[in-house]
Amino acid sequence: MGQAGFTSMHKVVTVEMEKDILAENRHLADHNRALLDEHGIKGFDFLGAIGSGKTLIIEKLVDRLKSKGKRAAAIAGDVSGDDDYQRFVSHGIPAANINTGKECHLDAHLVDHALDDLPLEDLDYLFIENVGNLVCPVDFPVGSHARVVVISVTEGDDMVRKHPAIFAFSDVIVINKVDLAQAMEVDPRILERDAKRINPGAKIIMMDARRGEGMDELVSALGL
C-alpha cells in the first residue's frame, strides 16, 4: 500500500481559459448602450482631469436642453461624497450618485446599477460624469454613445502628451478655462495641436464654460 510517488499520480496539463477581464466590462457596456437605445436615450460620458469643469459643462448643457423642452438626467461618479450629484439635482433633473470608493474610475457594472435608479421612460439624454482621472477610465467604457474628455489650461500645456490614450479613445475633446490661459501662461493651441495629432477624427472645442463660450460648438458636436 506504499505511496506510488507523488509525481506519478499527477500530471501537468495546459488548460485553455481565454478570459478577458476588460472584455467583460466592454460586454456590459454594450448592454448598457442597448438599454439606452431601447428607450431612445442618447448617452454621453464625460471624462477628464480633476476639476477641469466636467460638472459645470454638464450643468450648462442640461439647462440648454431644458429650454428646448428636452429631458436629461445625469449620473455623478465620484470617489466619495455627493457634491456633483447635488449640483445636478439643483437643476431639477433626475440624477444618480455613484461612489466608487477605492476605485479610480466608473465601470459598466456600476453604471448598470445607476440606470436602475433613473426614469428611463422619461428621458431623452443621459450624461455620465466619470471620476476625475485621465488614465483608468480608458480601460472601462460605460456604454455611452459618445465620449467627451475635458481638460483645462490650468493643468499645463503637456496634458495631452502625458495622457495620450484617453484622447485617442474619445470623440470630443474640450479644452476648458481658456479665459485663464494668459494668467497660466499656457498656450491652448499646443493642447489643440497635440490632440489633433493623436486623434485627427475628434472634434476639438476651446471653451470658457463659466461664460458659456464654446458651448454652441459642443451642443452641435453632440447633436443636441
Binding site: S8, M9, H10, K11, V12, V13, T14, V15, E16, M17, E18, K19, D20, I21, L22, A23, K102, E103, C104, H105, N133, V135, C136, V138, D139, R161, P164, A165, A168, F169, R197, I198, N199, P200, G201
Partner: protein
C-alpha cells in the same frame, strides 16, 4: 492604477477554473496584455505576487505576452501605427493611417486575457 482590482478578478476566475479540473496546483498563468491598455506590467506582477500568497496559485509563474496595438483603415491598411517620437516608453495610439493619412480605427491592443493555465491535476 487599477491593476490590483483587475488582477484580483483574474485570480478569482483562475481559482474557479482550476477547481473545474480538480487541479491541486497552478504552475503557470499565461496572460496576453494589449499595449493600449492602461495596465502596467510591473504593477500587475506586484499584484500577482501579493494575491497568490496563500492560494492554489502560490509560487506559480506569471507569463505576460505583450500584444501589439493594431489599426485598420478604409484604404485597406491593417497593421501597426506609425511610431510616435514623443513617448519612447509608452505606446501612443495615433489614429492616422500611415499609408493614406486618413483616420484609422483601433482593432487590437486592448486585451487583458488569461489565455492558458498550466495546472497540476490527478493522473487517472
Amino acid at each position: 492604477m487599477h491593476e490590483f482590482s483587475v488582477m484580483s478578478q483574474m485570480i478569482e476566475g483562475i481559482i474557479e477554473e482550476s477547481k473545474k479540473w480538480n487541479a491541486t496546483k497552478v504552475e503557470e498563468v499565461i496572460l496576453e496584455l494589449g499595449e493600449f491598455t492602461m495596465l502596467g506590467e510591473e504593477q500587475l506582477r506586484f499584484a500577482y505576487e501579493v494575491l497568490t500568497k496563500d492560494n492554489i496559485l502560490k509560487g506559480s509563474k506569471l507569463t505576460i505576452v505583450p500584444v501589439k496595438g493594431a489599426i485598420e483603415c478604409d484604404c485597406g491598411f491593417k497593421g501597426d501605427m506609425s511610431p510616435s517620437e514623443d513617448t519612447p516608453h509608452r505606446s501612443v495610439p495615433i489614429l492616422e493611417c500611415p499609408k493614406c493619412g486618413n483616420l484609422a480605427r483601433i482593432v487590437g491592443g486592448r486585451e487583458c486575457t488569461v489565455k492558458n493555465l498550466r495546472v497540476v491535476v490527478p493522473d487517472v
